[in-house]
């Protein structure tokens, strides 16, 4: 199961820069999830690793050895495309056995490996079926089994759940994670769905326009996102514009546009520098009673969105901005109504301060 490295890899398609000087390491057996909007370079990244594309600049290493000139069929990496690419003229078993056979294993061993893989995904009972006779979820499992049986050490999954219904995705994402971890493969899983990215990988890498925006374990990337784009992409937040007023000890006072003052953790940003304040939705509390928090304001409920296990409230705060608060598993009695006046609060430690983006806030939040 290889360690994988990208060292300053760039890939262009004509004038379009798909990946721009990208460098990162993935350790043996790690399950990395690459999150990014369509067009961010995720598929290009996978194809470069697979050997289906050659980098224009930079080097790719497997276990410390450069593999730029190694063909796809000779690398130890199997690529599973979004539409699965099951061979339509071969049965499920023949599909799964294709890898071992191609790598020169005798037929008996290949079939045994294939059967084991099919057992793992619980599709042995469909071994003789043809791909077009299977449902979407089953096809996905066959594609996974084929990858696992291949004998490669690196699994490259291109939006593996993208073609499935939302509810099915919820079920399968945890099963997918279990299977991959069980197999011991090094895996890189690419997606545009942040819920999925948070659920499956050991670590997340956020890609935008061919560049890495952040890379690290879920907890860190969520609690301390490297940029506004990352904060928006994973978890979502409300954004307020302001500037740094003063710093008192460990606390910075941010004056928000429209006359509000917010206490945030002290920052290295200079005084009067324009900043963006990001507030996670679940960190904003609403109450009819007093709140004991560093930042409390009066607010008015302007909208309610029902999301099943939680509700999202849109609240207008005194400076005119609207922020969102997510209440999880709220009982009907505690629910708030549109027009109600409430106390809105959040802790100093929950206010994330970012430098004002050069191209403006809207550009930073755009996902296409």
């Amino acid at each position: 199961m290889p360690r994988v490295s990208f060292a300053n890899v760039t890939k262009n398609f004509g004038k379009v820069v798909a990946l721009d000087g990208v460098s990162f390491d993935v350790s043996d057996g790690q399950y990395l999830c690459v999150l990014g909007p369509t067009g961010s370079g995720k598929t290009t990244l996978l194809k470069l690793l697979a050997g289906l594309l050659k980098p224009d600049e930079g080097t790719i290493y497997f276990d410390g050895k450069p593999v730029n000139n190694v063909n796809a069929q000779d690398r130890n990496a199997v690529y599973v495309p979004q539409q699965y690419a099951l061979f339509p003229h071969l049965t499920v078993l023949q599909n799964v056995a294709f890898g071992p056979l191609a790598r020169g294993k005798p037929a008996s061993i290949a079939l045994e490996t294939a059967s084991k893989a099919l057992d793992l995904v619980r599709l042995s009972w469909r071994a003789q079926a043809l791909p077009n006779e299977l449902s979407g979820g089953m096809q996905q499992r066959v594609a996974l089994a084929r990858g696992l049986a291949s004998g490669a050490g690196l699994l490259l999954l291109d939006e593996p759940l993208g073609a499935l219904d939302a509810r099915l995705r919820l079920d399968l994402r945890h099963k997918l994670r279990d299977l991959v971890k069980q197999s011991g493969f090094t895996a890189i899983h690419v997606t545009h769905d942040q819920d999925e990215a948070m659920s499956v990988g050991d670590e997340i890498m956020v890609l935008r326009n061919g560049r890495i925006q952040d890379y690290g374990p879920q907890r860190r990337v969520y609690r301390r996102p490297a940029s506004i784009f990352v904060a928006n992409m994973i978890g979502g937040a409300s954004f307020l514009e302001g500037m740094v007023d003063t710093t008192v000890g460990e606390t910075a006072l941010i004056s928000v546009r429209g006359g509000l003052t917010v206490q945030a953790p002290s920052t290295t940003l200079t005084l009067t520098a324009p900043v963006i304040l990001a507030l996670r939705k679940e960190r904003i509390r609403i109450s009819r009673d007093r709140l004991e928090m560093e930042n409390v304001f009066k607010g008015e409920i302007r909208g309610v969105r029902f999301l099943g296990n939680s509700k999202e409230y849109l609240i207008r705060i005194p400076n005119g901005d609207i922020i969102a608060s997510r209440q999880f598993a709220e009982s009907e009695d505690d629910a708030f109504k549109v027009g109600e006046e409430v106390q809105v609060g959040f802790l100093e430690g929950d206010a994330m301060v970012f430098e004002y983006p050069a191209k403006g806030l809207r550009n930073e939040l755009e996902v296409g």
């Binding site: 219904d165 996670r280 996902v367």
Partner: protein
Amino acid sequence: MSKIYGNIHALADVSLHVEDKEYVCILGPSGCGKSTLIRCIAGINKPDSGQILIEGKSVEQTPIEDRRIGYVFQDVALFPHMSVRDNLSYGLAVRHAESTEITTVTNEMLDLMNIRDRSKAYPRELSGGAQQKVAVGRAIATGSHLFLLDEPLGALDALVRADLRYELRKLASDLGLTVIHVTHDQEEALSIADRVVVMKSGRIVEVGKPSDIYIAPQNLFTENFVGETNLLEGKVLETNGSQCVVDIKGHRIRVSGFGKKVGQRVIVSIRPEFVPLTTPSEVGWKGVIKQVTFLGNLNRYVVEVDGGIELITEESTAEYSTGFRVGESVSVLLANDAHMLLFDYPKEGLEKEISLE
């Protein structure tokens, strides 16, 4: 505004009533017949039996072009050989509207969908989200009041979907449209619909307000489909008519349930957000944490309880608790019946009843 009685092999005996200005979401897994349903309303497919009434008038004999319905396709279907502007004005052009009217309305649409600066572009030059906006604008430009949306956000990135759905909803309210919106995404349906219609295998399973079908659905399929839930098989030990004591692999819980008999097989459903965990205590079921997943605003735990029962539970990370770790012992407090639902054990077996494909 419309009433349907249908009987097609993709749809079996479907009856539905939609009010003027209502936003209805038809929710169901792929292949449940939801697209077939709206295609029948539009006139693209013909029902084998039954009636379709729009504003009280039967429309079976009316061709597609005369039904005055706005339709948005899953694969967008913008005319590739026409610019954005020409696409938007197509509906008016084919009705031979005055060229001044065409220009005015088209410009209104461009402004409404915020794409004035792309009016000369061709569909292939636009992003997925922008293309879908043009498709919506094109349908609105015809002036129809009944809108049929076939998985309009299906081809878009998750983040774009989340934003666009609210924009769609606001648009419908502002313009006073009646909308039937088909989707397989339960969060989408719950967040914007006035009413949700749940379909499975060509039939309507349940209809209700989003909060009703999430919190207290009548049907086991609905309960499992509109959100994650723990389904526990058990038997009724005692009942006093309105409450039951149910035995689940040796554990007992009290659930409210009407009309159940002693010895009856039942399913108890508890959503992950209502499975409380505490450090080990005397009360509650004893268990061990098998898996921990950090989801940002939530911690998700898989707990194995005595008797081999696996429970999924979620708790908000808003409380600064450090959370539990894999292998840790915990207690699950399920004794009280708040938020638990009781269902009859399905005739065809549990797996078949809740199957998603």
